[in-house]
Each structure stands twice: as C-alpha cells, then as structure tokens.
C-alpha cells in the first residue's frame, strides 16, 4: 500500500512528506473515540426514553413504538440543524453524531437548507440527498445481498 502510494512520487516529494508529517498534529483518536461513544450512546439513550414514552403514554407495543421514535429523533435533529447547533455538537461527537439516525437527518436537512438559495427544485430537492444518497444506495445494495443470502440458506 505504502509503495503503491509512493510510486508516482519523486524522492523530493517523499522527503517532504516526512518533513511535513513530523509537524502534523495527529487526530486525537482516543478522545474522539470516547466522545463518540458517550455522545452517540447519549443520543441512543434519549431514543430509548422516547420509545418508552410512546409505550407508556400511548400504550404502543415495542414494535409499534419504533417508527414514531425514529420520527421524533429525526425531527429534533432537523431542528437542531436548522438552529445551527448540530454541526457544533458533531465537532465533538464525530462518529457518535453521524452514525445514529440523527446524523442521517442532519445530512439531509443541512443539504436542503444550504441549497434553498437555488430554489426549491434545482436547489433544495435535487441536493437534499447529496450527502445522504450514498447511505441509501449502499443500504439498498446491502439489504439486497443479505436478503439473497437468507433466501438461499433458509428456503
């Protein structure tokens, strides 16, 4: 891998890479991981409370409470995005804010807001899946593959 990367580089470039690397502050991986765990876990915990709320107050089954729970999280994530707060939380939370459904909501909402200046059709609607689109594409492909495996093995 390292050699393949270096194939197109001149000796001067490789030497410079070493000079630059020495000064480069590393990503705080441990801190990022801990924060991602805490903030991501916190979001999931909130989701758990919301689910319990629907089960207790509206007497839903756990399965029936899943959809309104997701919708609630999506709504509040979109609201926080619109208020300009979600991206600040994300600088702390990292993967903890992008992996849960709230991250998906943020990806769609932020793109939708951003492109409002180009109009509702050419702007908002054609750009709102600009970042979230790959998630849908790979989600559908993965679901298809898993379903195929399941049919082949269990039928």
């Amino acid at each position: 891998m390292a050699n393949a990367k270096h194939k197109k580089m001149t000796p001067a470039m490789i030497a410079y890479e070493q000079v630059a690397k020495r000064r480069e502050p590393g990503r705080p991986v441990l801190r990022n991981t801990v924060l991602a765990f805490l903030i991501g876990g916190g979001i999931c915990l909130i989701g758990q409370f919301v689910e319990q709320f629907y089960i207790t107050v509206f007497h839903m089954t756990r399965a029936a409470a899943a959809n309104p729970t997701v919708a609630t999280l999506i709504f509040f994530s979109a609201l926080l995005t619109g208020l300009g707060l979600y991206d600040r939380l994300a600088q702390w939370g990292g993967a903890g804010t992008s992996v849960p459904v709230t991250g998906f909501s943020n990806a769609v909402t932020s793109a939708a807001i951003e492109h409002r200046s180009e109009g509702l059709i050419a702007g908002t609607s054609s750009n709102m899946f600009k970042i979230a689109g790959p998630v849908i594409v790979f989600g559908v492909v993965a679901a298809f593959a898993v379903a195929l495996v399941r049919i082949l093995i269990f039928k």
Binding site: I14, A20, N32, A90, T97, S98, A111, S117
Partner: protein, 334 residues
C-alpha cells in the same frame, strides 16, 4: 523591470494610496478586530445567499478604499479582482457595480498579492494611474463549495483551517502618499504531492519557500533585508513546516520575523484549528493590520507572500494532489 528570473522591480515606485477592509463577526471578534474598516455582526449580511454576502463585502472594501481619499468609482481606471467562487462570480458582480475596465484573476488564496502585483505593474509601466485591486472570501460560501453544507456535522481534523469571511481592497496609484510597492515575485506551481484538502498548510508551505527563495535570489538580498516576511495563510502547521524548511536549507530567519496572516487574524482561537485561510485572509490582514503597523513606523520594509492552493472539488475527488502557488510583494514605508 524584470530582475533575475521572475521578479519585477518597480522603479517608478507605485503607491498603495488607500486600502479598505470589510469582515464578518468572527474576524471582528479576533485580535485584529479593531484594524478593519467594516465589521459585520451577521455573517449573512442580510443577504439572501452566501454568495451575495461575499459580493457585498467585496464592494464595501473597494468603496471604503475610494471613500478614504474622496475618490469615486468613475476614477478607477482598472479593477483587478479575484475570489474563490466558481468562475470568480464575486469579482465579476463587484466589477459590474464598479463599472471599471476589469480583469478577473484566480489565484485562490494568493489572489490578493497576484492582484496587487499586477496593479503595481500597470501603474509602474504607466499603463494606468489608478488601479483598484481586491479579493474576498466567505466562510459559508467556501464551505459549501469546497466541502459540505455549512450545517452538516462533519468532524474536522486539527490540520484544517477556517476560511476568513471578509474582503480587502487596495488602490494603487502613481502619485500621492502611502507605502511604496518596490518589487513583486511571481510564483510557480509547487506540488509536493499533498492530497489532503484538510491540510492546506502542509501543501502550501513549499510554494511559499520557493517564492521567497526566488525573491531573495533575484534581488540579491538576505532575509534580514525585510523587517517581516508575512505569509498568507499557512496556519500554525504550515508556518512550522516553512520554518523547518528554512532551517533545513540554511535560510536564517530571526524569531518573530516571520508572521502568518492566518495565525494573526484569529490568534489562539481553538475553533479555527490550524488558523485562518481563504482569499480574504492575507488581504484583510495585510491591508487592515500590517500596512497600519508599517505606516506607524514599526517596520520599514515588509514582504507579503500570499499562498494559494489551486485545487478544485473535482481534482481532489479524482485523487489529484494539490498544486500550490505563492506570490510575493515587497512594500516599503514612504
């Protein structure tokens, strides 16, 4: 007059007769906040798009430069401007307002000194008597064009930089008071193979090194000829690398002699990561802050080296490295 390989020496000493700067709220709150002519409290400037906000900044910077000398836009003979937007729209729309003969340029964050060098060249060669040059950038407009939607939650690495919201303009003329532009060195593309668009400092440092070396060689002077050498937007990381490169090649630069506009503009603010960047960074710091200190007599000669990363969103997505450039302009106290 060409001296050496790529340095213009301006024997008729064109002058920066006036400057104008306009910035956003974050820059206004920074350590140089008092240096700027206009500080906006709202990053949107009451406009309906980030691009329009950037254009307003560009126009304000030019207007302020004219107003300070009681000049009107009809007296501007040429307008040389550039910015970070696709097809340099900010400059072209501002040029529509100024209605002067217009040259649109693109040098990414090196645009400020590219414009100033060309303006000085026009005036020095008696092709013009009054040239307005300027550049602008806007944090949100740049974020959405080069990175992600502004409200998208992407975690940035510590090597990232913060695009300055602002605009700086300079009026270059033949007569009058104001600092003299004595020389300019045009950069060549230096590409050391850095591909990470979140590490512009490391990508651009070699370009700054190359241009400064060429400038000193062409003029046959040492680094101590200048009171300060100010790079455009290398940030903390790029500045450290540049000093390493100087040390490695035996170039002596005294402590404090090298300054970086990207470090000066936000100070130690941790939210900007490695420092400021963007076309406006070197423009507002040079025109708003450094020239004021020059005029106050703190320095006699300064060299401004604006650095630019000439990548596009397409080029880095296609895995290309980042071609970088630096243009240097030498300015002396009148």
């Amino acid at each position: 007059m060409l001296q050496g390989r790529r340095t213009w020496r301006f024997e008729n000493s064109p002058r920066i007769i006036s400057v104008g700067t306009a910035v956003g709220p974050k820059e206004g709150k920074g350590p140089l906040g008092d240096s700027f002519d206009v500080v906006h409290g709202d990053i949107r400037l009451g406009q309906n798009s980030w691009e329009n906000a950037e254009r307003v900044l560009m126009e304000e910077a030019g207007d302020r430069a004219l107003q300070k000398k009681g000049l009107v836009k009809e007296q501007v003979e040429f307008y040389i401007a550039g910015d970070l937007m696709n097809q340099v729209i900010t400059s072209s729309f501002a040029a529509r307002t100024f209605a002067a003969p217009y040259l649109g340029i693109y040098g990414a964050c090196s645009t400020s000194m590219e414009g100033l060098a060309l303006a000085a060249l026009l005036v020095n060669s008696q092709s013009a008597e009054l040239v307005l040059t300027g550049t602008a950038s806007h944090n949100a407009a740049a974020e959405r064009l080069y990175r992600y939607p502004t409200e998208y939650g992407a975690q940035k690495p510590p090597t990232a930089q913060w695009t300055v919201t602002g605009a700086g303009a300079a009026l270059v003329g033949r007569d009058g008071e104001g600092p003299k532009i004595t020389a300019a060195t045009i950069g060549r593309i230096i590409d050391m193979g850095v591909k990470d668009p979140f590490n512009m400092g490391a990508a651009m440092a070699p370009a700054a090194f190359d241009t400064i070396e060429a400038h000193l060689r062409d003029l046959n002077v040492e680094t101590d000829y200048y009171d300060i050498i100010a790079t455009g937007d290398l940030g903390r990381l790029g500045s450290d690398i540049l000093r390493d490169l100087w040390q490695k090649h035996g170039v002596r630069v005294a402590a404090g002699q090298h300054q970086d506009c990207g470090v000066l503009i936000y100070g130690d603010d941790p939210s900007v990561f490695s420092g400021g960047s963007g076309a406006a960074c070197s423009a507002v710091v040079t025109y708003g802050h450094l020239l004021a200190r020059l005029a106050a007599g703190e320095w006699n000669r300064i060299l401004i080296v604006a650095t630019g990363a000439l990548l596009s969103t397409l080029s880095y997505q296609q895995g290309e490295s980042i071609p970088c450039i630096a243009h240097a302009v030498a300015i002396e106290r009148a």
